[in-house]
Amino acid sequence: MSMAAGRPRSTLNITGLQIAHLIEQRFPGAVLDAAPEAATIDPARLIEVCTHLRDDPELRFEFLSSLTGVDRLDSFEVVYHLESIRLNQMTTIKVTTLDRENPVVPSVVPVWPGAHLQEREAYDLLGIEFDGHPDLRRIFLWEGFAGYPLRKDYLVGPGGRFPGLERFPGEAGDDMKDIRGTQ
């Protein structure tokens, strides 16, 4: 064992616009949308883009920090927070699928094995399928659990109320009656 002193420094955040520019130079047409937060990648080209992000000597994003599935109401989004330990920088990319019935995005496990459990989590709670995942099963809930609870339209309440959609229905009005049900 040894001790490394190391000087404190800050992680360089490569914005979505910058990373979109870098990806676009190498893979024309692979970036569908670019925002300061993240670049949205064409799902069909996700694997080649991710492999490039991991192996490029200027980028070296060898560490998948976090993988998040998001229900955007009209689409599903998978957000990848990438880190480079060697170069101390991070960036964010996304993929989107518009198919709400059968959402499928490519699995990044071949690029980052660290996505293994995180993709299973997104599949379990949001029902996003990861094409190419070696062992895609439910992880927290049991096989046979009905529905995907992190979806915004999960469990339609009495009177057709969507608990995930109509957050704080009493916000404009008076009290919390609507949230806690009629008592």
Partner: protein, 381 residues
Amino acid sequence: MTLKTEPFVVNVGPQHPSTHGVFRLRLTLDGEKIIDADMVMGYLHRSMEKLAEERTYTQNIPFTDRTDYLAAMTGNLAYVIAVENLAGVEPPERAQWLRTIMSELQRFASHSMAIGIFANDCGAWQTPVMHMFRDREKILDLFEMACGARLTTNYMRIGGVSRDIPPEFMPTATKLLKDLPKRLDEYENLLLENEIIVARSRGVGVLTAEQAMAHSVSGPMLRASGVAWDIRKADPYAAYDKLDFDIAVGTHGDVYDRFVVRVAEMRQSLHILEQALEMMPEGPVNAMQPTATVQPAWSAPTGPLAIRPPEGEAYARIESPRGELGFYLISDGGPAPFRFHIRSPSFINLTPLALMTVGSTVADAIVILGSVDIVVGEVDR
């Protein structure tokens, strides 16, 4: 004559002392050799991410105590930093130092549990862990002084901390800092070169630096594999950029190195605490006094006092005792997060468990799982 053999499945858990909670490991064995390891989790799944989408930003702070219940302070801290990034709030100087002090006290308390229970897994039944409990009690007493709770602290607030420390905190903490190094010497003598621990853990569950990074492993596990990566240094938050400390780095990436790295980090935590208690300035402890410390009324949680960050998203990560703890928040401008995701180190550090255990024996699997130092509340959320 040939004997007919077939693989044998052993369930370790969900109720088993080595799983440190309700976690199940299905080991497929060929003789005593493990040929497959499958994790079954979710026994403690409370769906916090869904619950958080229906509560205000301030109401969500107590959830972050209950993910990693051995390190509530760092859980609180990661979440409030994410909200601060989202809302553009800068906490005052004294709050930053209080956050640092609480985080390091928490790291010491959490690591003492980690190494005490690890000694349990190795066969030093209960004696070391009771010594560790003794020191951890003193730290929990300090937490109780600061915020009234010992385990689920709920101390950090958006824009600072919930309240300043009482006058008796400083003398007690200073006295404790005089005692703890002696205790740590004692434990090092007792455990570091202990024949049982060395025999059980050296060369077991090896993870190379490349494997560790590829599997998104973080914290003491990553450092034991020889990667000097600590977010307190790489991307300082709170007051860590003003403090002098070292990162403990292992060489072999085995179970023993993980244990040694944790012990060395406890020493560094004490070093940080000594400086922080000296250097902490006076001043306010919260930037958004009314909004953050006065709770919105229960009958109207989304009233004028609720925080409404502008539309956008934020990802904040800190070095928790278990590794890189991150919060990813999406705001739609409302009083509650649109999406609340926890990047939990306990969960992600389990990714290479099969890689580490396949090929070794059942007894090794127990020690390897102990070296990951999971908290099931954080694995399942």
